[in-house]
């Protein structure tokens, strides 16, 4: 079966910066995939290549087996980009109707507005929407053409809890209806809630491509903090399963999935430990430690 989206050894250079350093990725029909990574990891660049908004400097991008700039491919996609804008004087319903006119077989306007959770604001002018509502409007515009594939770049940025829930629910419903969905996020929690597959991108390369369960299993789950009576340095922790090590004066903080092993080794190495604390690590923080290797 032809993948909906495919990147083959895709590279992208912006001047001196190589944003993507050879990404291989194939997304099949009906998949809900989250591209996860910190800011500047290459998520937006990946989406831009998939959609033909930018051209790869090396490798190849395919959309429905075609060149991504091919109208036949792009017309089957709904897209929500970061940092887009529109004039404020049209109402929500008016701009949704305008965008519906661009597509051969659109959803009814009310349905698109409801998917954005904007029923109560349908007759409001765009200029009066909050940042989060505006973001939901762009979501409604992305889905109003009833696309087969949906590309969402940081869809929930700036949304309040309520709005975020509405959009996440819509994404789930569209996925259940068989749409292929690719979204970017830098929240592990969001990716975990939604996606059946998480692709972790860091500094232009894919560092993990697995189910949420497998990704979480790789993440250090405990935070260990203590004061050392003797002086400690990087050498003290050599060979230990430690991530995100921080030593300030004599206070040490680290993340590990095997804290017992680490502490045992430290005792054996003669480190005098005081004020020991072992707590569950913050999921987001732990995830970031995965992407910020020294």
């Amino acid at each position: 079966m032809t993948p909906v989206v495919e990147l083959r050894a895709a590279r992208k250079r912006f001047g001196q910066v190589e944003a993507l350093k050879g990404v291989d990725l194939a997304i099949g029909p009906g998949e809900l995939v989250a591209l996860l990574g910190p800011n500047g990891a290459g998520k937006t660049t990946s989406i831009s290549l998939m959609l033909g908004l930018r051209r790869p400097t090396g490798g190849e991008a395919r959309l429905f087996g075609l060149d991504p700039t091919d109208r036949r491919a792009r017309s089957r996609c709904g897209v929500m980009l970061q940092e887009s804008g529109t004039t404020g004087v049209l109402t929500v319903r008016e701009i949704v109707n305008l965008f519906r006119a661009y597509y051969p077989a659109s959803l009814p306007a009310d349905r698109a507005i409801a998917l954005g959770g904007l029923d109560a604001r349908a007759n409001a002018r765009i200029g009066t929407l909050s940042g989060g509502e505006r973001q939901r409007l762009y979501f409604a515009l992305a889905v109003c053409g009833d696309p087969d594939a949906l590309f969402l770049d940081e869809p929930t940025v700036g949304m309040d809890v309520e709005g975020r829930r509405a959009v996440l629910e819509s994404i789930r419903a569209l996925s259940a209806a068989g749409k292929t969905i690719v979204l970017t996020t830098h929240y592990l929690e969001e990716a975990d809630q939604l996606a059946s597959r998480i692709v972790v991108i860091d500094r232009g390369v894919v560092i993990a491509d697995a189910t949420p369960r497998e990704i979480k299993a790789r993440i250090p789950s405990k935070r260990v903090t203590f004061s050392a009576a003797t002086s400690v340095g990087d050498a003290t922790f050599r060979g230990l399963p430690v991530q995100s090590l921080e030593v300030r004066d004599h206070r040490v903080g680290l993340l590990s999935s095997e804290p017992e092993l680490v502490l045992k080794a430290l005792f054996e190495r003669g480190v005098a430990i005081q004020d020991l604390e072992v707590t569950g690590a913050d999921l987001e923080e732990a995830f970031l430690s995965l992407t910020r290797r020294p």
Binding site: L81, S84, L90, P104
Partner: protein
């Protein structure tokens, strides 16, 4: 499942034009200025001499209505496209349109149709004002010829507007449009007849686009200084020049944002 790649062209153009008109209607400050300014200028420069008839039988009032008509249409085009396009770039509407499936051609055509509607309104209001307030008389056929020619010949100013809109940012665009269009109109004899302008301006005028554009209207009154073909040739040349500049700026931006 195969579906057509896009909605029918007329459907997209109609919806886009309707929205453009609605947006203009709801931000009246800009459109009203476009419609009122030529009438205000005509009141100062035209009304006091509206009754005068030249030695060759040409009504000065009608001549100045034609001049300010040319100014009015160019005004709608240069400002509408120049400031409009620059503003939309500033608001990142281009990114939203990129994400949609609207062909850029339809996006631009809708703007052209909208501008033509406003230019038509501006001409009707101006000429109506001249007839009522200045008692200026011409046959309906002459007025229709002036309106038709000015709308059809406005292409170089649409291209100039696009060029300004793509070369300058949203804050600079109004100033740039003013700096280019006002001196251009003045030096082409649209505000004050050429024979009352300094010698170097009179030498310069026959090289300016608005000079040849106004000839389209003046010649409808028998007051043209060149043949219709000559005017059209000049306007075609300027269209090509401005269009080249606009396309270059557009491509430069495309490369920066979407390459």
């Amino acid at each position: 499942m195969t579906r057509p790649a896009a909605a029918p062209f007329p459907q997209m153009l109609l919806a886009q034009t309707k929205s453009e008109l609605l947006m203009r209607w709801r931000v009246p400050a800009f459109s009203v200025t476009n419609l009122a300014l030529p009438i205000v200028f005509f009141t100062f420069f035209g009304l006091p001499v509206a009754h005068v008839v030249r030695g060759d039988g040409v009504s000065i009032g009608a001549y100045l209505l034609a001049s300010f008509g040319a100014y009015a249409v160019g005004n709608v085009m240069v400002y509408g496209f120049g400031i409009g396009v620059a503003n939309e770039r500033g608001m990142k509407v281009d990114r939203l349109m990129r994400a949609s499936r609207l062909p850029p051609l339809v996006f631009m055509l809708a703007k052209v149709v909208t501008a033509l509607v406003f230019a038509f309104l501006a001409l009707v209001l101006l000429i109506g004002f001249g007839i009522v307030a200045g008692g200026i008389h011409q046959t309906p056929a002459v007025w229709a010829t002036i309106i038709g020619r000015l709308l059809a010949g406005s292409l170089p100013f649409i291209a100039l507007g696009f060029a300004i809109g793509y070369w300058s940012g949203p804050h600079a665009a109004p100033a740039v449009a003013n700096l280019i269009y006002l001196p251009l109109s003045f030096a082409s004899g649209l505000f004050v007849p050429l024979n009352q302008l300094p010698g170097f301006v009179r030498t310069l005028a026959p090289f300016l686009p608005s000079y040849h554009y106004a000839q389209l209207a003046w010649s409808a009154l028998g007051a043209g200084r060149e043949s219709l073909g000559e005017s059209l040739l000049w306007l075609a040349g300027y269209t090509a020049l401005f269009l080249t500049l606009a396309v270059r700026a557009y491509r430069r931006e495309e490369r920066a944002k979407f390459a």
